[in-house]
Symmetry: C2
């Protein structure tokens, strides 16, 4: 009887810690059997099993995820670019001089090749016009409002419905095993923060991203912060290692990316001592999503793909490894 | 019998969630009865009681704490300055030209007025010489090693023993009520991260602070990050509002500070909509700690103190409100 009572109490304890669900059901139902699924489960078991040679205490269980192309769709263009173009169109009537400029004419017309012809400088100029001059809070509200109504043309679904179900399962698996996960995105930090909590269960303070400078001021007796149309941090390439050190302050033990922009993050993570996991999402499923790597203007993947075997980074085949792509499939 | 079993299970559940201790014992044993203790408990009860007009869901329960003078002692000088001077002395033999410079002679001799004569520029120069040229990880290890051995002259205790017991109780109270707490310090972010988890239970990613630029590079086939002797962010004054927006991404509902460097943070927090709490630690206990405010070169408190009544910021009297100052008292 004593034993029975104790086991009941232990069961409640286990439930409170979220362990029961993980033990009773498959934590990765959208992952097909194979080496990538096994790499994930083996890694998590190794670093979270007390007494295992690779055991890592919870404080060290830091995982980082790229966003565009790793957690949600990034084709035919980054979602934030669609947001920027919609904003430009919405602001155009109040800015009658804009159409005199070729770049802005292209943006207002939704002419993507015309927009791309402006290069990085052109994109940053559009980003500044569309996204600056307001507070981070007002910007997040705008982005959230847009995300609630805008729809991807191919699937006719909100962009936040185009997150990858198998990656949501990885996030949940890590959460259930005491990991703290972060998004480390080349996208704008406030844009990602506008949906990260709802879409991924990742709160704003665990999103690292690119940013505009914030200018403090005062208006009507209140402190104000205003987004300036001036980039102060690019969280891409080597910037991802810098962003991790600056915002997280601890080297991750697991990293997930999909492009050469994640190469530094994958290396910074897996070059640390002890057991590490670096994984690449390879877009090789044109039927269910997209197929692209070396030649893509968005999410180009070449160097990281070539080096993956030597660096021990499992390459996830969306076609072979994922039984399901989106939550609503 | 069924009920008995269920209550056992519930007790285990409650213990797992840390609720039992909070319900059974006084959460603020080092706080004397009075308006400041009541302000704290009333605020926490209001924002965490479902159905209360001021209820805030857990995701919005963000609290921010200044460090120097709010969570630990900052007199007779910031602890990090003692670290910098010890580092300069340790590095001096390898830098024979240093004593030709008055500032460095003063630093090596531990001549504090001589060091202060160099002003902010002098301090930043010493900070750069003492703390740059290495990785954030190596720097944190150095700082942790120093903190493990260095001792405050007045109490002959490690600096990490000079944290304020009543504030540890506030951190624990908030933690037990679903808050996420952050340190927002004018000190160097990696210095604070070296002890925040052990001293306060605050992991590195929840420390916002001033920082040197980080330079990414590569050495011996590995990604490197190197601290440059160049400040890239000052997390003080208006910078605290910027740091909160940049790192936390959500306006806090509670802020704790002790100096005019926290005025913007207190305002930014308490100017938000809904119920807010801004509190000031007033150092008015020369016998048990220090007494200083308007005239102090460290932790000057004038404007925030003058405006506290009108802004509704309770001012904590260390002498009257705190029954105990340090954990080992």
């Amino acid at each position: 009887m004593i034993l029975h009572r104790r086991s009941l109490a232990l069961a409640a304890l286990a439930a409170a810690l979220g362990a029961t669900a993980a033990a009773q059901t498959d934590p990765l139902p959208s992952w097909r059997e194979g080496p990538r699924r096994r790499a994930l489960l083996d890694f998590v078991a190794a670093v979270t099993t007390q007494g295992h040679a690779d055991f890592v205490p919870p404080a060290g269980r830091i995982a980082v995820f790229d966003n565009d192309g790793t957690l949600w769709v990034e084709q035919p263009a980054y979602t934030q670019l669609f947001f920027i173009l919609d904003r430009i169109r919405a602001l155009a009537p109040a800015n009658p001089a804009w159409p005199q400029e070729a770049l802005l004419r292209a943006a207002i017309a939704g002419d993507m090749p015309g927009v791309m012809a402006g290069g990085t400088q052109g994109l940053l100029r559009l980003a500044g016009l569309a996204q600056a001059g307001i507070s981070p809070e007002a910007f997040q509200a705008l982005a959230a409002e847009w995300l609630a109504t805008a729809r991807d043309a191919r699937w006719n679904r909100p962009y936040t419905a185009l997150v990858y179900q198998p990656m949501l399962e990885v996030l949940a698996l890590l959460r259930a095993h005491g990991f703290t996960s972060f998004i480390v995105s080349g996208g704008g930090v406030e844009f990602v923060r506008a949906f990260s909590e709802q879409a991924y269960g990742i709160p704003p303070h665990r999103v690292v991203g690119s940013s505009f400078a914030l200018m403090p001021g005062e208006e009507a007796g209140r402190i104000t912060l205003t987004r300036e149309p001036r980039v102060d941090f690019i969280d891409d390439g080597p910037g991802k290692a810098v962003g991790i050190a600056r915002f997280i302050g601890r080297r991750p033990i697991a990293a997930f990316g999909n492009s050469d922009g994640d190469w530094h993050m994958l290396r910074y993570t897996t070059e640390g001592p002890g057991r590490r996991l670096g994984m690449i999402v390879h877009h090789d499923d044109a039927a269910r999503e997209y197929a692209y790597d070396r030649q893509s203007h968005v999410g180009r993947l070449a160097r990281a793909l070539d080096e993956a075997p030597a660096r021990g980074w499992p390459v996830i085949s969306m076609r072979d490894d994922w039984a399901r792509i989106f939550p609503n499939d």
